[in-house]
Symmetry: C2
Subunit: 353 residues, 2 copies
């Protein structure tokens, strides 16, 4: 099976040494990745964007078709006057984190209405609003659902603003996003199509299945699967691949995040095949997101083939435990007619032996 190189519309590439470790797993199969701005030193200004984009791109081998799509973290200090300059710096989306809901969100937003002047500028200039859609102060199982009225309020007020509800985890969110106009979409992660709450704590406690928003019920998971496989252009891939060093997961205060980048495409192929949706895989991972963001489709191609002997996912990559560690994957993903230098670069980061 041949598909276009994919787009990951939600990815944590981190900074410094960890960036160097994890970046190859993303540029290997992704033509573009929407880079999250909640780094330790958050991406807040034009200067931050330019510096971070440079830090990423200088580590991408020549001839590798990879574009980091830059974002800025929306804080009470983000002003409407910044929008034009951010666009010039190739920022495609602003990310809103309600205060305190996930990693590095202590400086997030409390008062959503205070954002209106900014959202007006974004609407006018076609900048996407990415929402971490969880309501602070609400319990984990309900906080996504309780955020949906905020989404509704924003959409009513700014009917032409492009809004992405990120990493949705509930059947409610699927229904809500479907009910809104074509300017509202949602990203779905691989792991939320695989896990439920019980993968964290139904047996022994598994910190490597712990992420924000947490995985919910079987019904929620199954509804996400159906949305992703529906071909509905409102739903597309955002992996939320979020690497944390093993010691920061297996401890008394475990970090939230699942590192899915190393297994993303083969695991998605395996899941879509199992569920009978392989013919809609490309739409979900390579087409719908680009269309929503108004980007041309990737030109590079990936060849997906079934393996004779399944590949066992390593239990660790450079100190980070990947999603599905120790599991079998039976899809192989290769570049189609790669150019020499590119092939070489990608061969170095193949997860397959």
């Amino acid at each position: 099976m041949i598909i276009r190189r994919i787009d990951d519309f939600h990815c944590h590439l981190r900074e410094g040494e960890l960036l160097s470790r994890v970046l190859p797993h993303t540029y290997k199969h992704c033509g573009r990745a929407l880079v999250m701005p909640n780094t330790r030193k958050p991406i807040l200004t034009v200067d931050d964007v330019l510096a971070y984009r440079y830090e990423i791109l200088k580590q991408v081998p020549k001839n590798v078709q990879f574009e980091p799509l830059m974002t800025v973290k929306l804080t009470p200090k983000t002003t409407p006057g910044m929008i034009k300059k951010l666009i010039e710096a190739r920022v495609v989306a602003l990310k809103l984190y309600p205060e305190g809901v996930t990693t590095n969100s202590e400086d997030g937003v409390k008062d959503f209405e205070s954002l209106y002047p900014l959202l007006e500028q974004m609407e006018q200039h076609g900048v996407v609003l990415c929402l971490h859609g969880e309501m602070p102060g609400v319990n984990s199982m309900d906080r996504e659902q309780r955020f949906l009225p905020v989404l509704d309020q924003i959409v009513q007020k700014f009917p032409n603003l492009k809004v992405v509800l990120e990493h949705i985890t509930t059947a409610s969110s699927v229904g809500w996003v479907r009910s809104l106009g074509p300017n509202v979409a949602a990203t779905i992660t691989l792991h939320h199509m695989v896990l439920t709450l019980d993968d964290i704590l139904g047996g022994m406690l598994n910190p490597h299945a712990f992420c924000k928003p947490i995985a919910k019920t079987e019904n929620d998971r199954d509804t996400l699967r159906r949305a992703a496989m529906s071909g509905d252009p409102k739903f597309f891939l955002g992996s939320d691949s979020a690497p944390h060093l093993r010691e920061n997961k297996e401890c008394c205060n475990g970090a939230a995040g699942i590192y899915s980048a190393p297994v993303l495409v083969p695991a998605l192929a395996q899941l879509f095949e199992k569920l009978g949706g392989l013919d809609r895989l490309e739409k979900f991972i390579s087409i719908s997101g680009a269309n929503f963001y108004g980007l041309s489709l990737n030109e590079g191609q990936l060849r997906l083939t079934k393996r004779q002997i399944p590949f066992i996912v390593p239990v660790e990559f450079d100190g980070v435990v990947p999603f599905l560690a120790g599991s079998q994957l039976d899809w192989k993903v290769e570049q189609v007619q790669p150019e020499s230098e590119y092939a070489q670069a990608c061969a170095q980061v193949e997860v397959q032996p």
Copy 2:
């Protein structure tokens, strides 16, 4: 405030070296503890009971008023013919673990009806049935609730069998137990009156709040608090204090269990005081359980006083992280007129500085 020495009607004392580390925290304030049989080498026979009881008692200083109430783990191999001999070995209860629901329950029960001949003997001889009331194969949030019809079925079939639904975590269980006859009771832990699901995963992942059954919603927790403080003789303390070494909690397969023994009495006093139920504390921790089990009340006494300066719970006791580690406790618990050797033994294990 003076109360009787307490009874802990659900306690994991472990074996070998770990037993030695944790036992003093239980005999310090408990006149009796119902000792769980799901040790690594499970307590299944008369010989197991006698050996385990001896192992425990030889470590209890003379003059310390402490009686381990012995239990046997109910497996498909437990026969009705064993009941009389178990009673002679001072076994007061048999513990039923549905297969696979908690630590060391792989040899648990699948077919509840197969137990009927055994339950008939237990009913006849006044041996208590302790239930880990979770239905295997059901998700964590619902598995206790889904077990309740099994409880009902057993109670209908054996109307004079004494049954304890252990460590209840849901409002449903409170209601269900209330609705059944006086031969049905429930234990409630300290930690299920304090925690909700979000204490495990609402912020960072906290393996030290992870136990089975998992803590549920705020409503469930508040209903448990009300039941414990109601004075209803059907609800009494079973701490389910379950020590695991730190390295077995903070890892990729974290063990379920909360080590509450070191803080049990002061933390309960603090909670009951906060909720305005201090006058019903003694009933919950020293009276109702003994009455249900048909035991005389403890004669030793504890003096509970408010501290001027709060005590900070240590972050670790001998490699085990206690419940409420690092928190402030403002109640002090002392023996009333202790005899010399006893006072000395207890002084050695005071959590208070």
